[in-house]
């Protein structure tokens, strides 16, 4: 690990200033940043400990939604009574990720910024355009089992590895951000992460000095919520494919609402509103679910080792839709 200065700002304003001034990295839970610092993948000259700032509250919003502070740990979110009752999808997604020990440290803000598990990104002696722009993408032509099939570019085929953000995307969550200048702005979780394009090092919309302060969830919409994660171990493994779904049925047995997001497929939680549009107003059927999968995977491209994700995503989507619509195969 490169030597660094340890800074513990006492206010959000000071934190923003320090982060904008130096090549500092904010640290809260530390579970992702320290991992990467030990590998010399992250080499900040200063680490700005924001873990004691006042951003750790969960509260109801006036419109019936929920405000989840950036420093609320994943555990605190998952065990919160309102999350369990009104946003079970979010609790399920969090509980499907990592381990109790890691969830006890990982925070809302940090988890949104979690970096990819691509083997070539985490090995500082291998080429990676994300870590070392211009060095090439080791995963293309290499071992790419974990990698993306949607929204890839010739420069990067990494995936976003988290679960929480996939659920938040389906739930229509909004990321609250304060800039170094104190200016606050809101970005939907669905728009928070970027596709790699020709700037794979840019993973989300945060600018120098920006600090995530919270995620707000809209009022619950009803329907059935589920999070399905396919993984190689029964626990403690990243998703091969995951599906977050909120589906409501009308009293004619037709789909009244369908909000879906996907993990393990792309550089960001994958959200394609056309899929919901296709499903709404229709009676559930195998043919309909196949059409939804066609739409999801319209532009999918495998890189050899991860070709299986295309049929796996189709099958998992079908399993989830059967579950939440009550249709059976």
């Amino acid at each position: 690990m490169r030597a660094f200065d340890y800074i513990r700002p006492v206010s959000l304003e000071e934190a923003g200033r320090r982060l904008a001034e130096t090549s500092a990295k904010a640290i809260a839970g530390g579970t992702n940043l320290l991992d990467l610092m030990k590998l010399q993948v992250e080499t900040p000259s200063a680490v700005c400990d924001i873990s004691r700032l006042d951003l750790a509250t969960i509260a109801d919003t006036p419109d019936g939604g929920l405000f989840i502070g950036a420093l609320v740990t994943n555990t605190q979110t998952a065990v919160h009574q309102r999350v369990r009752k009104d946003y079970p999808l979010l609790a399920r997604a969090i509980l499907a990720g990592a381990t109790q020990q890691l969830r006890n440290k990982a925070t809302t803000g940090g988890n949104l910024c979690q970096r990819t598990r691509c083997f070539y990104f985490t090995n500082a002696d291998q080429p990676c355009n994300k870590r070392d722009p211009g060095s090439g993408c080791g995963a293309i032509g290499g071992i790419a089992k974990l990698h993306a099939v949607l929204g890839t570019s010739e420069h990067c085929i990494a995936t976003y590895p988290g679960d929480m953000a996939v659920a938040m995307t389906a739930l229509g969550g909004v990321v609250e951000i304060v800039g170094a200048d104190g200016h606050a702005r809101s970005v939907p979780v669905a728009d928070f992460h970027c596709l790699p394009g020709d700037t794979p090092w840019r993973e989300n919309v945060l600018e120098e000095g920006d600090i995530i302060t919270a995620v707000t969830l809209p009022a619950p919409v009803g329907g059935l919520q589920t999070y399905r994660k396919v993984r190689e171990r029964s626990s403690y493994a990243f998703a091969l494919v995951s599906v977050a779904a909120i589906v409501a049925m009308d009293d004619q047995g037709k789909i009244a609402r369908a909000d879906l997001a996907f993990g393990g497929l792309a550089h960001k939680p994958w959200h394609d509103p056309r899929i919901g549009d296709l499903l709404v107003g229709e009676a559930p059927s195998a043919a309909l679910f196949d059409k939804a999968a066609d739409l999801l995977l319209e532009t999918a491209q495998g890189y050899g080792e991860n070709d299986f994700k295309i049929p796996l995503a189709r099958r998992t989507l079908r399993a989830v839709l059967e579950e939440v619509t009550g249709a059976s195969s």
């Binding site: 091969l240 099958r315 998992t316």
Partner: protein
């Protein structure tokens, strides 16, 4: 006094069963257990050494070539850096098990990506790690090093080749035959304690605390690497945090710590990072295995073919002995067995728990399942029908044979349905449910071993040997054997292991630890008993000892007359090794569910029955079996080393992406110990159990996946991608 016993004949006297203490074989808790559960047991990296510097290995970023120069000046300019060691005596691979000589040295010669090339020593670990990662190295790269085992012409391992009768003719003439090719991915030992060493010199004398399985070989390997006499070296490994083959031979950090400590005149500690452990110790080779099996109309095997391709680095003798149990497990007059080794530039291949059978048995036992289906025979019955009377290749008798007992007892306990089997019969919600079974076999080895037993004047006993306990239970079974022989409660026996100053044991590996060191202890105790009997003027077999006294009430302390009585037992297997084919046997039964959509497989229950001679401790033996079955689950479902197709580097070299099974992957497991006395195995009638539990278990799971879902997966591990690809829709 050293008492030597060479075993040329089966020991049918079975003396241990006549002893009176009644402690051997019981489910006694580990005598080192309290130290482990309270965190007070010290492992290699945890000893204090004054003024100790920290070393971190620097590793190569080319696949093959030479190190032209290392910019030491730049490294030494970094904060805290004391030295950059690139001494030609540094080792670049771990020694193979029982090598007894230094492994590959000369760190300037690079043979695989990730190979150690230097050691950076600094005041603190963080300083050393940083400097090691930033070492500027000028390489002369030799491009196009072969890294794909399928792309080079392999070398036949002729000592493994068997050609009996005419397999091709038997296959054509057979009533039923299977000809199928399996692949297995590489495995890592992934012991939880990373390799570590603390070296300190006192003049010309070197002491090293290290995490090693076989001090008796390791001391010679280290002496050879350093070019000093082994009398100058003391190796200590009292607690070893798992080995599974990865600590059989001396590894790079031990030699590096010793050289660095001498060069800087201070103790040096080198603890491998987890990534270094993965990339620079040992892999189990991947394998490609073609099985050809055929039966007559009655289900008797008429042909048996097993051909395997494995790989290793140039210069390494080790070739994963995939065919080891195939040589004797089943009958079949027409036999063709062949093992080939591809020379490629991936990291060193060597022993990982149950080398050979760990991957050979799963392939064979899946092929047997396919044969049973083809022949329309219950897979349990097919196996029972084909147990040979004697070794089908060597013609030797078996020292003992428990396969039939294991199959029968396990089938009954599992509730196996011997009726006609068809896949895809049971579905619950999204899950297909099914069952499968497999035989287990693991060759028995026993090795020369020495141990000192001292019956102290106060009536307690001390055991001293350099033998290690890597979690296997050596401490405990040593106390039980000595307690049984000398009539002492085990808490009256102090067991002092893992110090090279003690008599040399066999080391922990190849499942030979317990039978070998147990036999040395038995020999030592028998000699002590003879002396005690002499003092009582009776014959030794008539000496009955229990709780520190003879049956007539004479206290041991009286007999000892205020003096200690010590004997070194020296056991050596003699002609016995040549006269019999000896093996542990067993059977696995598993029930799995396979998700019809996602191909995820979960083991719902699993049972194993194992015969391995005398059970020395029912608790620790069962734990060894549980561990083996857990590894079977990993082999079947999750574990796969992945290598880059271009530079051959190990890609998933950490515990996040190399999937050791987690707690939730492992259901309730049942173990049946099929107890026997194998007189030809060792004078204590025991065989090893450290590896048998994973020799075939993955096939029971694979066969259950097929029975559940209809997906016959021919590639291990059977990850969701492979299951959905094979599943009929």
């Amino acid at each position: 006094m050293i008492v030597h016993e060479k075993q040329d004949n089966p020991d049918t006297a079975n003396r241990l069963d006549g002893m009176k203490q009644g402690v051997l074989g019981t489910a006694m808790s580990r005598i080192d257990g309290l130290a482990k559960v309270t965190g007070t047991a010290l492992y290699a990296a945890e000893y204090s050494a004054d003024n100790c510097a920290e070393g971190v290995l620097a590793t190569a970023t080319i696949t093959r070539g030479v190190v032209n120069a290392i910019d030491k000046k730049a490294a030494l300019a970094l904060p805290g850096v004391i030295a950059v060691i690139d001494d030609p005596r540094l080792t670049t691979r771990a020694a193979q098990g029982t090598a007894d000589e230094a492994p590959q040295q000369d760190p300037a010669r690079v043979c695989y990506w990730g190979q150690p090339i230097a050691l950076v020593v600094a005041e603190t670990f963080e300083q050393a790690r940083h400097a090691a990662k930033h070492l500027v190295v000028d390489y002369g790269e030799e491009v196009d090093a072969p890294v794909d085992p399928e792309a080079v012409k392999p070398e036949e391992q002729t000592e493994e080749t068997v050609s009996q009768g005419d397999l091709d003719a038997a296959m054509s003439a057979a009533a039923h035959a299977v000809d199928v090719t399996f692949t297995t991915k590489g495995h890592a030992s992934a012991a939880m304690e990373p390799h570590a060493a603390i070296a300190s010199w006192n003049g010309d004398d070197l002491t090293v605390h290290a995490s090693l399985q076989m001090l008796n070989y390791n001391i010679t390997e280290l002496a050879d690497a350093l070019g000093i006499p082994e009398q100058r070296i003391r190796l200590i490994a009292r607690y070893v945090g798992g080995g599974f083959g990865s600590k059989l031979g001396i590894s790079e950090e031990v030699v590096a710590a010793a050289i660095a400590a001498q060069e800087i005149g201070r103790p040096v500690r080198v603890v491998m990072t987890r990534q270094h452990v993965f990339q620079a110790i040992m892999r189990r080779s991947e394998s490609t295995q073609r099985l050809r099996l055929c039966v007559d109309a009655a289900g008797k095997l008429t042909g048996f073919g097993h051909h395997a391709l494995v790989s290793n680095l140039p210069g390494e003798e080790f070739a994963e002995p995939v065919l080891q149990s195939s040589h004797f497990l089943y009958a079949g007059a027409n036999r063709e067995l062949k093992l080939e080794l591809a020379r490629i530039h991936r990291m060193t291949a060597g022993s990982v728990r149950a080398p050979g059978e760990a991957v050979g048995m799963p392939a064979l036992e899946c092929a047997m399942d396919m044969l049973a289906e083809a022949a329309g025979i219950d897979p349990v019955k097919l196996r029972l029908m084909n147990i040979p009377e004697k070794d089908p290749e060597k013609g030797l008798p078996f020292s003992s044979h428990t396969l039939a007992d294991c199959l029968t007892q396990a089938a009954k306990a599992f509730g196996w349905d011997h009726g006609l089997r068809k896949p895809r019969q049971t579905r619950k919600g999204e899950w297909w449910i099914g069952t499968g079974m497999a035989s287990a076999a693991r060759v028995h080895n026993v090795m020369e071993a020495k141990a000192r037993v001292t019956l102290k004047a106060d009536g307690t006993a001390v055991v001293e040997t350099d033998m290690t306990d890597i979690g296997t239970g050596t401490y405990t079974i040593a106390a039980q054997i000595v307690g049984e022989m000398l009539g002492l409660a085990p808490d009256r026996v102090l067991v002092d292991l893992g110090d090279s100053r003690h008599p040399r044991g066999p080391g922990s590996g190849g499942s030979w630890g317990a039978p070998s060191i147990g036999s040395a202890l038995y020999v030592a105790c028998k000699a002590i008993r003879e002396e005690l009997a002499k003092r009582l003027d009776i014959d030794e077999p008539d000496l009955a000892l229990r709780n520190g006294a003879t049956s007539s009430g004479t206290q041991l302390t009286e007999l000892l007359r205020g003096e200690d009585l010590a004997r070194v037992g020296h056991y050596e297997p003699g002609a016995i090794s040549e006269d019999f084919t000896a093996s542990g046997f067993g059977a696995f039964f598993a029930q799995v569910r396979v998700n019809a959509f996602t191909g995820e497989t979960r083991v719902d229950r699993m049972l194993g029955a194992f015969g391995f001679g005398r059970v020395l401790n029912r608790k620790t033996a069962r734990s060894q079996c549980l561990g083996g079955i857990t590894w079977s689950i990993g082999t079947a479902l999750t574990e796969a080393l992945e290598f880059d197709p271009r530079d051959g580097h190990l890609v998933n070299g950490d515990l996040a992406e190399y999937h050791v099974p987690v707690n939730r992957d492992v259901p309730d497991l049942d173990v049946i110990l099929v107890e026997e006395r194998d007189a030809a195995a060792s004078p204590i009638q025991a065989k090893g159990i450290g590896e048998l539990g994973m020799c075939g278990g993955a096939a029971a799971i694979g066969n259950a996946i097929y029975n559940a879902s209809g997906a016959r997966v021919l590639d291990f591990p059977m990850t969701p991608d492979r299951v959905i690809a094979a599943m009929p829709d």
